[in-house]
Chain length 233, copies 2
């Protein structure tokens, strides 16, 4: 559409879910004029939930202004919800970014940065209830767009969101070309990809198995909400 | 299903397409009892086509026996088609592996290792014609299974293949649970994900833009086929 360069930053932290980042990276790095940066607080490589370690482009301190800031999710998000380094960086970059984006439970990090209040948003199905804690309106859709805020459901939804974003940045023709190059005509072999389709027994099994993690997450969300309300913020 | 440990190795090289590796890694690292290794010839981190760099677990020399060997694709595959280090390693590991897998143009690397002769297979749509050079029968499907050989179409098809493989390794219930956790109920915003769906003009535009890369690939495939026919092999 134009010769504008878009600087897109994906914020990583230990224990992130790598497909939350790598899916959108694969799509967005193919957008004409886009430059995709991988960021971590200290600029060091970051180990994901699954042990796959990704090198990063720059630390928060050395990051250039971002046109798009993307918060990814994963079990590790719990810890960074109360990390001032992370919430401050997200808040500061979002202030001047054209789009603020989350994949999966990256939405909680946006919430902890105070960026969800009054917005419609989505997140991983296990974390939907936490959106209200941050003043958001949970919407059970795969990609939710509310003004400059784009949020995706769990993990693989980041690919769908990235194609939507690619079309906004470079036009639908460019997005369609990317879709063809990554041959994104998905054919899941099963139909268990969301809570509506999956067997109720499976959903319940997964919920129970994550009870303890959910308790920790609840505590962290509560702390993050309190920090947002503190006078210093 | 059992307490067996499955050792799964994903073979990387410079210029690989990262989603070819990271999509299956996200799925397979969640398989109960599976251990997913990332491999490069020298054990050093590998920079993908898009500039995203992934650290690897081990070099070819230090790799343990693999139950599953996965060859990924990308522009960089052209160079390794004539790399004895890569084709020898793939051939050696495939010899004792239970499953031999390719994503995208990783199929060409399997071909260069002599593993496609007489097999049905698929690859990225731009590379389908090269399968015949390696004695394979090209099948225009997203995931093709022929005995112990599993091949996927371009890039994102690796996620679909990985769920199929997860079901084979750990049973369908485990695969469905993984699908639910990564919320894989895709909703591509456009319908240009394969040659059948995309506009003919777009397909032609992409073909023309890749003409030079295709010429190089053709030369490399020819060299690889000649190497397979050489008496020393």
């Amino acid at each position: 559409m134009s010769e504008r360069v878009w600087t897109i930053g994906i914020v990583l932290y230990p224990g992130f879910t790598q497909l939350d980042a790598t899916g959108p990276h694969e799509v967005l790095s193919r957008v004409p004029g886009a430059r995709v940066l991988l960021l971590s607080a200290d600029g060091n490589a970051v180990c994901s939930e699954s042990g796959l370690t990704i090198e990063v482009t720059t630390s928060f301190a050395d990051a250039p202004p971002l046109d798009v800031v993307i918060a990814v999710g994963g079990p590790g998000v719990n810890a960074v919800l109360t990390s001032d380094a992370h919430t401050s960086f997200i808040r500061r970059t979002a202030n001047t970014a054209e789009y603020v984006v989350s994949i999966c439970t990256g939405a909680l990090l946006l919430g902890a940065a105070g960026l969800l209040t009054g917005y419609q948003a989505t997140t991983h199905w296990l974390a939907m209830d936490f959106l209200r804690d941050f003043g958001a309106v949970p919407i059970n859709e795969r990609v939710v767009i509310d003004r400059s805020l784009l949020t995706a459901a769990g993990v693989s939804a980041g690919i769908d969101l990235a194609l939507v974003l690619a079309a906004r940045i470079a036009g639908e023709a460019a997005a369609r070309e990317i879709q063809l190059m990554i041959e994104y005509a998905p054919q899941p072999p099963f139909d268990s990809g969301n809570v509506e389709q999956a067997d109720a027994d499976l959903v319940e099994k997964v919920r129970v198995a994550r009870n303890r993690m959910q308790d920790v997450r609840k505590q962290q969300v509560t702390r993050a909400v309190m920090a947002l309300r503190a006078p210093s913020k």
